[in-house]
Amino acid sequence: MPASPPKYKPNPKAPRQPLPLLDPERRRRTADEVALGYTAEQAQMEAQRCLQCQKPVCVEACPLHIDIKRFILRIAEGDFQGAHDVISEQSPFPGVCGRVCQHELFCESACVVGKKWDPVAIGSLERFAADHARLRMKELAGSYPKPTGRKVALVGSGPASLIAAYDLVRLNYRVTVFEALHKLGGVMAYGIPNFRLPREILEEEIARLQNMGVEFVPDFIVGKTATLEDLFEEGYEAIFIGTGAGLPYLMGIPGENLIGVYTANEFLTRVNLMEAFKFPESPTPVRVGRHTVVVGGGNSAMDAARWAVRLGSEVTILYRRGRAELKARLEEIEHAEEEGVRFEFLAAPVALYGDDNGCVREMECIRMELGEPDESGRRAPVPVPGSEFRIPADTVVAAIGQAPNPTLQKSTPQLVTKRGKIVINDWGETSIPNVFAGGDVVRGGSTVILAMKDGRTAARAIHEALSGARESREEVQA
């Protein structure tokens, strides 16, 4: 079918529409979402910056291959519902991805408009389409046929499993998602703050899967509540492991076990999952003092720092490299700066000192300088001798990364792993037949969208394995 020409005249030179934001002073006092989303007029103006390229490189660059060109056309034409339908062909999570996907590394980095001007704001447009369709989502509830096919188990309810569930249930598989915690969504539920991803958005997009017939079982730890073998015995014919990278690294410095010293996971779990920001209306407390020091430079560090601001603290982020090396989403770094987070670059913690009650009071730090590039190609920070200095700290958050959670692996010693990460082949299969894996448990700390890419790859492989398509493909190859 020949592509119909756009019904509007593209205007890439128009300035990229800025995403309206909550005023920084207001942000410091609430858990409300920071980014407010486009108005309909803004969305249409932004959509009309898209050139509707013959070869839409943006679509290739999106790991889910969302038909960006076509959904943007719909928005440009004012057919917002239609835009949502186009996205749904590939993804049921536009509300989530439009908010947290690192689009500057994917679709937007490829967008040709970006060669000369600012790229089309694809992420914000995706979010707009999602928010517009939210009201209609409820109408869609219950209008799906019940799946009747073979049984597939997905372990963990993070983005990797969720997209696999979407793909498999559409192929008529009976899909069960097992989650260790009491809430669904993985890091999106316990790690990413409400002010970046309101929980209703996440819950509604997951509810859509439920309506499609995906069964969710919370409070179920595979490896503890039941083993992989148990699941096979119960009739599951393939299993996907999307258990993420939940094991926090510690700093390994004296004083780390003082009261008030948290891993980012603990701090964020208390505040997001257990809603400590509402304490005492919610029963789980968190200790946030006058001076919070967050160690690290990734998304977790920004999230912990920005929560601490909202909980009334003065906040410093201590990072051993420079600003250019920060690994968080650009937007989050800017928002943290706007909200008054102070950055101490090229410095690392050496020790923590506490008071008589065992509460942390001070951090000793050391200056770093960037030396020779390491194996990752980045210049490795090296301490400057004699440059120690102290800063006040009555809350400390270590946001220095995570390793895969080992529970399932421990109960399944035959599962091949490398430095804790599950090893898979090209189509996502582990060393155990019909057991697949993807997302952070394979990659180590990564991103929502790459976890989804893995979940999609595994879903296709599961379908091929269970429908016999793989054998016939292998025969052809042989």
Partner: protein
């Protein structure tokens, strides 16, 4: 998953037994393991030891001392109602030796947590000497069940109203010394476990302590439950909860468990103001 309450019994003032439907956990748990519950949809997550189970009823039993907000919410539930969330079995099973004379020591609600360990020791062919402590006669729990599996059972009460007058560590010192036991297990309030470890240092006894630090997820994800054992940081929920009592830094654990004391009181007061208690 939510879990239906099948039975509830008051064992002593403030100590309640709950039997709940949990067929998967019943099939897989071992002595020393625990669960995490959230009694109500907005409750905190709290860890509780698995005390017993019944294959016929597909159930597990826990014994709860109502000390704060969440434990009170749990014991206020009635048979026929459900615990909102219950997950497990968590942690590693207790290490059980064979053919030894073993010491089993507990205080307070720890006596209930000791029961499955004492049974496991007995089933593995050990001679089990159980020493249990309670505030007074009225606070003694599970005496009959312990007698069934222990070769010897001695009680200590703080006020002398039953058995030995004094605490359980004093009782131990009155009955035993270096060489009396090869292995043992201690479970109870931190000061008691610490005293037991100090008292038996140099006895040639391998003493396991079942630790109870503050936990959140119980899956090794947050590190909030970290304890120092032999100079190493360990996560009690996945590496434990049982560790070598002689290597545990009990002072650090005492401090860490107090981290939220003021705030817990505030949470209770908040409920009182709302008229929930």
């Amino acid at each position: 998953m939510s879990a239906l309450i099948l039975d509830k019994r008051q064992l002593a003032p403030e100590i309640t037994l709950l039997e709940v439907e949990a067929p998967r956990i019943q099939k897989r748990w071992r002595a020393g393991q625990f669960i995490i519950i959230r009694p109500l949809p907005h409750s905190e997550r709290i860890p509780l030891t698995i005390v017993d189970s019944s294959a016929e009823r597909g159930s597990i039993t826990m014994v709860i001392q109502a000390v704060g907000k969440t434990t009170r919410e749990a014991v206020a539930l009635e048979p026929g109602e459900s615990i909102c969330d219950l997950v497990g079995p968590l942690g590693e099973p207790a290490e059980i030796c064979t053919g030894e004379r073993v010491l089993c020591m507990a205080g307070g609600v720890g006596v209930a947590e000791l029961l499955p360990v004492a049974r496991a020791y007995k089933e593995a062919g050990n001679t089990v000497v159980a020493l249990c402590g309670a505030r007074s006669d009225a606070y003694r729990i599970l005496d009959r069940e312990l007698r069934e599996c222990a070769d010897e059972l001695h009680w200590a009460t703080d006020d002398g109203s039953y058995g030995f007058h004094g605490n359980v560590v004093q009782l131990l010192l009155s009955l035993a010394g270096p060489g009396s036991f090869a292995e043992g297990h201690v479970i109870g309030p931190i000061p008691m476990m610490k005293a037991a470890a100090e008292a038996t240092r140099g006895w040639g006894l391998k003493l396991h302590a079942s630790l109870n630090p503050i936990m959140i997820d119980g899956t090794g994800m947050c590190g909030g439950c970290r304890v120092t054992v032999g100079g190493q940081v360990r996560f009690a929920c996945v590496d434990g909860p049982c560790f070598d009592a002689h290597e545990v830094d009990f002072d650090e654990m005492t401090r860490r468990n107090r981290a939220y004391r003021d705030m817990e009181l505030e949470a209770l007061k908040h409920d009182c103001r709302l008229g929930l208690h």
